[in-house]
Amino acid sequence: MMLTTTFILFGLFIVFRLFYIFVPIFSIKNNDKLQLLNEEKGITVLVPAYNEEAIITDCLKGLLNVNYKNFEAIFINDGSGDRTFSVLEEILELNPLERVKAGELSHKPTKGIYQSDKYPHIYVIDKINGGKADALNAGIELTSNEIIVTLDADSILDTNALQAVNTTFEEDRVIAAGGMVQISQGYRGSHKKPTPVFSTSGLIRFQIIQYMTDFYLHKFTQSKMGAITVIAGAFGAFRRHALFEVDGYRNTVGEDMDITLKIQKLLRTKYKNKKMVIMSHALCFTECPATFIDLYRQRIRWQKAFIDCIWTYKYMFFRKLRFLPSLYLLLDSLILGTLCAFIVLTAPFIIILNPSNFIIALGLFTLAYVIALYQGAAALFISRRYGVSYTKNDYMRVVMFLPFEIISYRLLGLLFVSLGTILYLKNKKGWAASRRVGVSYQTFE
């Protein structure tokens, strides 16, 4: 019985991996270049910030360097206890301003709205702390442009990112779109023309490969299948009306997954012809945790956010959400991603107790290893087709690193997933209260 279950799960795992590897390989062309449009649609970029004094200037610089005219950016200082607001004030030379609110989404009171004297398309909202969702809602209230981009304060937009958003939303059917999040430690040189590098610590290398796989393979495939379940909070784009129709963001630990699922609900009920896609050319660079303890905190948070969302939407799968996103969430994310983490972690003990299964476990491991190697290779090839190409030396480094990474850092990921789930389930009630105590807004899915 247990063996049958193992084989079924493993079969499922293989099927999903095959999709992730071969859908992108066969559908993405070489030198897939971004098509620039002449007409620029109006875009508002919302940047919620809570205690981001150290990093917010980089984010601002990224916005100032964007190769796009018809946009405004609104920083929302969510009652930071540090100098976030002063930093913005000094650089931007802020003047108080009156702006019309839509009056549809409730949020914590604002203390003031300001416009930059120096860069008139940059605005700042200073408000009382209410959490990331609350800050985003305050920002949405002030928008009038058709497209709203949400950006984390620790993320830096690529110069062509908004052009890519513009091109993506040229298609009327697109109601929301996810950007490609890259790891800033994996790049060197100017922000205007960053060069990808692989000479960095193992912990960061592991995350570079993971983000690459996640965005270029997983998210791309999900996009093709209409099964996107998370538009990363770091960088996403939405049609303004959709955000209002779902009553804005909900205050939860995983507000990015939550808003994505709310829009998926909209796609199932109201906008049957519309779709959610991934913007392969819209890059942003985010700093990933550089120490084990920070990585641990981030991953535990992600996993708690994920389980929380699954729990919240438990009655909506298949009924209120489309078939494929439901299937993806339940099978790949929950069963394969979370439950199997426990199985894989307990496998060594099961083998010790019952050595007769050793060969079978070894067989399954070898198959999974082959798949993982090909998946890593596919991620590199696909990102290269989008112009993310490393030097020969760096490719050598990847080739040396990948076989080792699969059996080291990646297994650590399983531990995080398991721990996050246990911690969430253990403290389900307590968690709700601690939601607002945001340490950082660095969430991704």
Binding site: M1, L3, N30, G363, A377
Partner: protein, 317 residues
């Protein structure tokens, strides 16, 4: 064009590598997956103290001090319920396979033993009798079952239990399923580990080899054809499976030769059973104990005859 070639090469190389790894492990997967996982060489049944009752020696009421001089040892294979008999139980010439005894027949046979006051011995009593160290009643018998068919548990066990009889069951340990499956009379099924644990109050379990209940392509028994090392290894593995219970052994199809006997003796096996038409009596080689086969064609008269019939006077020494 270049991309297409690359994609195809990428896909093909993947398929080739993945398929070769898969084929390499296919036997293991299939073996495990064929539904049932069976005992592996390292496994041990949890029956260490389960049939300690077989060490007990009954206080036999001996009338006139007249003990048995010889004891018939009966060997059964399958016991199938009359109502459950299907095509699969018949051979090519439309006869019930000889190894199958119908449940109704088995009931009559056990009833007979009970009503006639037969004493069913356990292994210890029988061993001491064979060593001339114990007197057993004139009407004594030893019941044995070969191969460990699941129907022995389903059909024979309740009947034996009803009459308070016990029996020796010889298991081919490599085919013991580790998880219980539903009993299907039409299939050939074997005692699962659970069945064994649930019936050790009636059955004593001993080795019928680990995996050598087979024949080579030219129909020679493994126990005669394989090398001495291989045979010894196979049997010791089965003993390991059985918590080193080495009181008894049964030769698959009753076939053995001098080498086999030597191996069993090296492995300290106390008694080994073959198949013959005569009763067991003290003085016989303990590794060549004869058993009388009960088959599908054994009628009641035949059965009684097998019990009563004495050995010709020139055997046994």
């Amino acid at each position: 064009m270049k991309r297409i070639i690359f994609n195809v090469a990428f896909a093909v190389s993947f398929v080739v590598i993945f398929a070769s790894v898969f084929t390499f492990y296919l036997d293991e997967f299939a073996g495990a997956y064929n539904g049932i996982e069976t005992l592996s060489p390292s496994d041990q049944l949890e029956i260490l103290e389960c049939y300690d009752w077989s060490e007990q020696i009954s206080d036999f009421p001996m009338e006139n001090g007249k003990g048995a001089e010889e004891v018939p040892v009966l060997i059964y294979h399958r016991i199938v319920d009359d109502a459950a008999v299907t095509k699969s139980h018949y051979d090519d010439s439309a006869n019930l396979h000889s190894t199958i005894v119908l449940k109704s027949e088995f009931i009559k046979q056990m009833e007979f033993l009970y009503e006639e006051g037969y004493t069913v011995l356990n292994s210890k009593e029988f061993l001491l009798f064979m060593m001339n160290e114990l007197e057993v009643p004139e009407k004594s018998v030893l019941l044995t079952f070969d191969d460990g068919y699941k129907d022995n548990f389903r059909e024979a066990y309740p009947i034996l239990k009803k009459y308070d009889f016990t029996a020796l069951s010889f298991l081919i340990t490599s085919i013991i399923p580790k998880s219980d499956e539903k009993y299907k009379a039409q299939d050939v099924q074997y005692f699962s580990t659970q069945d064994i644990e649930n019936s050790c109050d009636i059955f004593e379990f001993y080795s019928h080899t680990f995996a050598f209940h087979k024949q080579t392509p030219d129909l020679e028994a493994h126990l005669k054809e394989k090398s001495k090392e291989e045979i010894k290894k196979d049997i010791s593995v089965s003993l390991h499976n059985l918590n080193e219970r080495n009181r008894a052994f049964s030769y698959p199809s009753g076939e053995y030769d001098l080498d086999t006997i030597a191996i069993l003796s090296e492995l300290d096996i106390e008694m080994a059973f073959s198949i013959d038409k005569i009763n067991a009596e003290p003085g016989m080689n303990l590794l060549e104990i004869p058993r009388k086969e009960i088959t599908s064609t054994t009628g009641m008269e035949d059965f009684k005859h097998k019990l009563i019939e004495k050995n010709p006077t020139d055997t046994g020494s």
